[in-house]
């Protein structure tokens, strides 16, 4: 059912975990439909310097999460925003058609994280210098 690339990412997912004091967090999906993805980003000078994920979901959900972290790592925010669900699916050599909609949400999680990082930009910059755990702003999407 899945491409070798999907299975490879599913078996050895890249960048699993959480980032302490992330600069942005994006979360999409819900437990009702069976897929939840949470992305954690570290952003410095407009560049994604670190990215990690946690995912509850099927093989496609895990593989797309893993792939999006690879694609976004090191990118500036503008380029990262150009990553779409289709880009992710293509990078995985395709997904079964029934998975395209339900389990291919990783790029949306990335976009949510970046947009919310930007809309909360002012606060984040203020705390940027303080580096304290409490003062660091976490942006969480709905």
């Amino acid at each position: 059912m899945y491409s070798d690339k999907v299975m490879e990412h599913f078996n050895n997912p890249r960048n699993v975990g959480e980032i302490e004091n992330p600069d942005a967090v994006g979360e999409v999906g819900n437990p009702v439909c069976g897929d939840i993805m949470k992305l954690f980003l570290k952003i410095e000078d407009n560049i994604i310097t670190d990215i990690k994920f946690k995912t509850f979901g099927c093989g496609a959900a895990v593989a797309t999460s893993s792939m999006v972290t690879e694609l976004a790592q090191g990118k500036d925010l503008e380029s990262a925003l150009e990553i779409t669900n289709e880009t992710v699916a293509e990078a995985l050599d395709g997904l079964p058609s029934q998975k395209m909609h339900c389990s291919n949400l990783a790029a949306e999680a990335l976009q949510e994280a970046i947009e919310d990082y930007r809309s909360a930009g002012d606060d984040t910059e203020e705390s940027e210098n303080q580096k304290g755990q409490e003062t660091k702003k976490t942006v969480e999407a709905k």
């Binding site: 078996n11 437990p31 439909c33 069976g34 995912t55 959900a61 895990v62």
Partner: protein, 392 residues
């Protein structure tokens, strides 16, 4: 042991046993005649069909082999039973009672009758172990109820319903009673008189017979409108040239399952089932058993929900370890909804997505079970580490 191929999905289907295959073999080419023809070649085929019909009748405790209709399997038997009786009795009433946890072969057939032929259907709820309450059935009966259809054993969670009791309620109200016994035949005793049923579905591929062959028991005197129009086969109740090799295979599979060793081996399957259930409960936290314990549960059925993780991911991981199992998650059902059976038990969507079913049969060994019990906790841990719902 070949760790690369452990088959734990016998509720989905089983391999054709070698002795069954051997008995079927000559009916593909040597005795290929059409049972309806007159020459002696056809006699071999028609004799084989008659012998099989007698065997099925005998196995089910039916009075007469005329009460057996061969079909293409469980789905067709369920369709014929439900549509056939509903349509035959539609002038008497248009109300059907079933349960929320039926196989789709019954559930979607009932929905079809609702959507297209103006029937009304009551879907009885089940308790948290999957049992229909006989009191609920009594209360649901109306003057226009013409059919009650409740499965004998559930394919996902293994719950064995109190069919004899439910059938008695149906009969004391003069209502036709059908049961889908596809998962029960050859696993637990199935006798149409003990069970008080008028119609009973079975399917050969669930007990080491071939796919695409099944039967419907129809108690003498039960009105049934044929659902397949054509020739006069099966006493005009199911048109179409008989699947002779399949019918022979069904007969041979029943005979195989009647053997004493095989009957006795069911105790071993129950032991393996309970070992899996107990070890999982001991070793994996936040695991929830679906279905009952003990003799109200199918011998080979194990079904758990593991919180915080999703079923398909579990299956893919098990597959990498050479273990074939199944799940009721949305991803494996081909829809966006997790199993309707688990939801009917009261499981939340999130929990229902994390289900795993293991179904054992005679070919499974304790070694296989032990290997599975060794690998499963590692898989659950790995997926939980990855899950945003799990707080270590």
């Amino acid at each position: 042991m070949d760790e690369k191929s452990i088959y734990f999905d016998h509720a989905a289907t089983t391999p054709v046993a070698p002795e069954v295959k051997e008995e079927m073999d000559p009916y593909f080419d040597k005795y290929f005649g059409n049972p309806s023809s007159l020459y002696s070649l056809a006699m071999d085929s028609s004799r084989a069909v008659t012998r099989a019909r007698e065997k099925v009748a005998d196995f089910l405790g039916a009075d007469n082999e005329r009460e057996i209709i061969f079909t293409s399997g469980g789905t067709e038997s369920d369709n014929l039973a439900v549509k056939g009786t509903a349509m035959a009795l539609k002038d008497k009433g248009k109300h059907i009672i079933t349960s929320e946890i039926e196989h789709h072969a019954v559930l979607h057939t009932c929905q079809y009758l609702e959507d297209n032929l103006d029937f009304e259907v009551t879907y009885l709820p089940v308790d948290d172990e999957g049992f229909v309450d006989p009191q609920d059935l009594k209360k649901a009966i109306r003057p226009d109820t013409v059919l009650i259809t409740i499965m004998m054993a559930n394919n996902e969670i293994g719950t064995i319903q109190p069919i004899a009791k439910l059938g008695q309620i149906a009969h004391s109200n003069d209502i036709i009673f059908h049961t889908d016994a596809v998962q029960s035949v050859a696993k637990v005793p199935v006798d149409v008189d003990d069970l008080n049923v008028d119609l009973l579905s079975l399917s050969a591929h669930k007990f080491n017979g071939p796919k695409g062959i099944g039967a419907l028991y129809v108690r003498q005197g039960t009105k049934l409108l044929p659902q397949m129009q054509g020739g006069a086969q099966e006493k005009k109740r199911r048109a179409g040239t008989e699947n002779v090799p399949g019918i022979v295979g069904l007969r041979a599979a029943l005979e195989l399952n009647e053997k004493k060793e095989r009957q006795e081996d069911i105790q071993r399957i129950i032991y393996l089932r309970d070992k899996i259930i107990n070890k999982i409960e001991d070793n994996i936290d936040a695991s929830i058993l679906n279905g009952p314990r003990g003799d109200k549960r199918l011998p080979g059925n194990v079904n758990f929900c593991f919180r915080y993780i999703e079923g398909e991911s579990m299956l893919l991981n098990l597959d990498m370890k050479g273990i074939a199992a199944s799940s009721g998650s949305a991803c494996t059902s081909g829809s966006l909804e997790p199993s309707h059976v688990l939801l009917a038990l009261g499981r939340s969507h999130e929990v229902a997505h994390g289900s795993l079913r293991v179904s054992l049969n005679h070919s499974n060994t304790e070694k296989e079970v032990d290997y599975f019990l060794e690998e499963l906790p590692k898989i659950v841990d790995k997926l939980r580490d990855m899950s945003p719902l799990y707080e270590g």
